[in-house]
């Protein structure tokens, strides 16, 4: 069981069509969720380690701006936003995917960003500026691979045509913008309400 848990993600990234099909129809939901969260944790860990240990020739970091908690947020929040936005859109656009499936497919798509970038954290300490081209090339490969997986995952999970998938993905990005705006609005209003209440409390407590 646990061996299959580890082996399946690797099978999926090399055979995305068959892999995502299996993910949607054959794998257990629990197993998918376990692996998905593990991927998210690994992704955050990779980012944290990368910001601390990447080689000096490819990575300059200001210790003042280092924040591991924020690195976790930078992984969790975009994934959450993407999933919510994608789910909200696809329910209206005849998508067949459930939220759990969307979440799992998104997380699985992040695997290349871990397995390519993790070794490069250490390798980047052993390269010169001239060889840094390989580093940047691998980074781009990782991103493109992940995007491809995201595309295939979306297509398979929702049973869309390729064109519709591309359209949905672009719309998802727009929806994320709206979501971010609404969140900002919500928090700013919340802040105002809180400050309003505290000011009233202050006023009253100072008077009586």
């Amino acid at each position: 069981m646990s061996k299959a848990l580890v082996r399946f993600p690797f099978y999926l990234i090399f055979h995305p069509f068959a892999g995502y099909w299996e993910l949607k129809y054959e794998q257990s939901r629990k197993a998918n969720l376990i692996v998905s969260f593990a991927i998210l944790v690994l992704m955050a860990a990779t980012n944290i380690l990368s910001s601390q240990y990447s080689g000096f020739v490819v990575h300059l970091y200001n210790p003042d701006d280092m924040n591991s908690l924020m690195e976790i947020v930078y992984v969790a929040v975009p994934v959450l936003f993407w999933c919510v936005a994608n789910w909200s859109l696809t329910t209206l656009m005849d998508g067949e995917g459930k939220f759990v499936e969307i979440f799992a497919s998104t997380c699985f798509a992040l695997i290349p960003m871990i397995i390519i970038r993790f070794p490069w954290i250490w390798l980047s300490n052993a390269i010169t500026l001239q060889e840094a081209a390989f580093y940047y090339f691998s980074e781009s490969v990782a991103v493109l691979w992940s995007l491809y997986l995201l595309f295939v995952g979306n297509m398979t999970v929702h049973q869309y045509t390729p064109a519709k998938t591309v359209g949905t993905m672009l719309l998802t990005v727009v929806a994320i913008g709206f979501l971010a705006f609404i969140c900002l609005l919500f928090f700013s209003l919340l802040q105002q309400i809180v400050s309003f209440v505290t000011v009233i409390y202050q006023e009253i407590s100072l008077r009586y």
């Binding site: 020739v57 003042d64 052993a126 010169t128 500026l129």
Partner: protein, 487 residues
């Protein structure tokens, strides 16, 4: 985000001030009266630094016994230390000797047998032979006197097809190279500096500033009629504000722009060849409030070893850079205290000391170099000369006095690199955030390590492989033997 960072900085600064206060029993300002200077870190933060220069004396015309200066505009110091003060309001030039005592006053010259005087001159330049060139702005001419102060020539309204018919020649700043060519900064000339031959004929323009086009304005211009366009502001290049010439004959110039490169080093073709390898391209302050805006550079002075200083009239600060464009130190400021100015207009180096001319007050402040400043000056000079051992020694000393001086670490690293101490050099390049040199040092270090261990590692690998192969063969043979005995 930006705001919160500012606040954070303030909090950190306050905390640091508190610590300092607790440690030394002083308030935020140093009790010994030493003003704390600043520099910029790689990340663009303001970091404190020891004072590189301290005000030593204040010179004014009355104390010198030549009568008060009236709106002096320019200053020139010759190689042997004679100081020429262009006292524009009094239409004269006061010459001081190395001991800052008045040596002579030039207020007239003889032209065609008649006495002639200046009218509101704005610029002065003295050649190595002590010939004096004066931009006699009010009289719209340039006056060239020899070392006995006899008239050599007068350049009046130049004629050329490059110049418009109604051109009014108003020179304000002037410089000459070793071939006696003159470079003149004139009012209303947008094509760069005017270049004159040794005999005083106008030859060409050199080093025009670029035009900046505001996209919004360009849009309105596009859609407006010719009539409307003719009433709009023209897109013209900005004028320079000052120039100076180094020993090799390159022109260093500043312009009063609020954007782009405000300091330039022009070669004979008028191309900008200033090295901008520092953390920020040289332009004075890089951190300022939006309402105050960037530095407005009004004067430049080139010293030896490609060190140059610029004067920011907006905040009265003097910024000194080395040839690579690293900010060495900053001093000065606007205010009423000693070492602060009202309207600084010109700076000159007097040896390693500085003279700053204040126009409104008619005063010259003499700044004397501190130990920190002279260490840094000497370090940069030694490095420029190629005397690396001395440079490292001095850079180390400078770093001891100011650990925030990031580019000094790079100087130490470069010397270590050349001495073959690669691992150590890497450390220093990391401290100065110098990726390119770090990579160089790392490459050599890697080669060194590989050369040391690779043969051993490869031999071991080979031995292991050979051993394994032999073992396999032996096993096979044994098996065959066993099989044979079985049969």
């Amino acid at each position: 985000m930006r705001m919160s960072m500012r606040i954070k900085h303030v909090v950190v600064l306050l905390a640091m001030a508190g610590l300092l206060g607790a440690g030394m029993g002083t308030a935020a300002a140093r009790a010994d009266g030493v003003p704390v200077a600043y520099n910029y870190s790689f990340w663009g933060d303001t970091v404190s630094s020891p004072a590189p220069y301290l005000p030593a004396a204040l010179l004014n015309g009355r104390d010198l016994g030549v009568g008060p200066f009236k709106e002096p505009n320019d200053l020139f110091v010759t190689a042997d230390g004679d100081i020429y003060v262009l006292d524009s309001g009094n239409n004269r030039i006061v010459v001081l000797d190395r001991q800052l005592q008045p040596a002579s006053v030039i207020d007239s010259f003889v032209r065609d047998g008649h006495e002639d005087t200046f009218a509101n001159p704005q610029g002065i330049f003295v050649t190595d032979d002590k010939e004096v060139l004066i931009a006699d702005t009010g009289n719209r001419r340039i006056v060239h006197l020899d070392r006995q102060l006899h008239l050599v020539k007068v350049i009046e309204s130049p004629e050329s097809e490059l110049l418009p018919a109604n051109f009014v020649f108003q020179p304000v700043r002037i410089a000459a190279d070793k071939a006696q060519r003159l470079y003149v900064l004139a009012v209303g000339v947008f094509d760069g500096f005017m270049e004159f031959n040794a005999d005083g004929t106008f030859t060409s323009f050199i080093g025009a500033n670029r035009v900046r086009v505001d996209p919004v304005e360009l849009f309105w211009k596009r859609i407006s009629t010719r009539e409307q366009r003719s009433r709009m502001v023209l897109f013209v290049p900005t004028e320079f504000t000052s120039l100076d010439m180094n020993e090799e004959g390159f022109i260093y110039a500043t312009n009063g722009d609020q954007w782009g490169e405000t300091i330039k080093k022009l070669n004979a073709h008028g191309n900008d060849i200033l090295r901008r390898e520092g953390y920020f391209s040289p332009r004075g302050d890089i951190r300022y409030t939006a309402s105050a805006g960037p530095s407005r550079l009004v004067d430049i002075d080139v010293a030896d070893s490609e060190i140059y200083s610029v004067l920011d009239a907006k905040r009265g600060r003097i910024f000194t850079y080395n040839g690579d464009g690293h900010l060495m130190y900053v001093f000065g400021g606007l205010g009423n205290k000693r070492g602060e100015f009202n309207t600084p207009v010109a700076i000159e180096r007097l040896g390693d000391d500085f003279l700053v001319l204040d126009k409104a007050l008619g005063e010259i402040t003499l700044f004397q170099v501190t130990e920190y400043g002279s260490t840094l000056n000497e370090a940069v000079r030694s490095y420029y000369r190629g005397d690396e051992e001395r440079a490292v020694e001095l850079f180390r000393k400078a770093v001891d006095m100011n650990a925030n001086l990031e580019f000094a670490y790079s100087g130490i690293g470069k010397a270590l690199l050349r001495q073959g101490k690669y691992a150590e050099a890497m450390q220093y390049f990391k401290l100065s955030m110098d990726q390119r040199n770090y990579s160089k040092a790392f490459q050599l270090r890697r080669k060194e390590v590989l050369r040391e261990y690779l043969p051993a590692v490869l031999s071991a690998a080979m031995a292991v492989t050979a051993g394994l192969l032999l073992l396999k063969k032996l096993r096979k043979m044994l098996r065959r033997k066993g099989a044979a005995t079985l049969e």
